[in-house]
Subunit: 106 residues, 2 copies
């Protein structure tokens, strides 16, 4: 049982270390995104969506759709076309890792 626990702890460290590496790698890819979407994921343009704390699965799906052309957007087709599958996963990890809090007006 102790061995199993230790293995699980070790596995947890590997998984968490991997996500951290992805986030840091994503930070480099993010340089192409920040012009419109902001470094903190709060968009600089009215037409561009905020990406802060956005769901990773949704971000990955969107970028893959822009890359394949399933989702149409002139600038995003160019940007996503330059990204590898790994870049997409990493930049999605970066924006998803931003913590957001939401306050609904009363």
């Amino acid at each position: 049982m102790r061995k199993l626990m230790l293995s699980l702890v070790a596995l947890g460290c590997v998984v968490s270390g991997h996500a951290e590496a992805d986030r840091v790698a994503g930070q480099k890819v993010m340089r192409a995104c920040q012009v419109c979407h902001g470094k903190d994921g709060i968009a600089q343009l009215a037409e561009a969506p905020n990406l802060a704390g956005q769901k990773q699965a949704y971000l990955e799906k969107s970028l893959k759709e822009y890359k394949s052309g399933a989702r149409k957007h002139e600038q995003m087709a160019v940007i996503a076309g330059m990204l590898s599958e790994t870049d997409i996963a990493n930049v999605a990890e970066y924006y998803a890792s931003i913590t957001i809090t939401a306050t609904v007006p009363q």
Copy 2:
């Protein structure tokens, strides 16, 4: 000059009152959205995007694209198809009115 100032203040009240009415009307439309996207705009599903504090122009554009079929998504095509242009503007106002704060991990 004083008349102009008063007119501008009055106009401000009308505009702000209108946005408030839109937000409240949007709250009713939001009932169809909250199952996946949350009442506070924090999505309940990994595949569904957060909408909290999202840019109004982006939300309106997205809903119109789902309605026209320019953007493809099985459930969103059904939901957006049921919404009028006014419903779309109002629900976009509702989710855009939610205040968000973003914290980038160090």
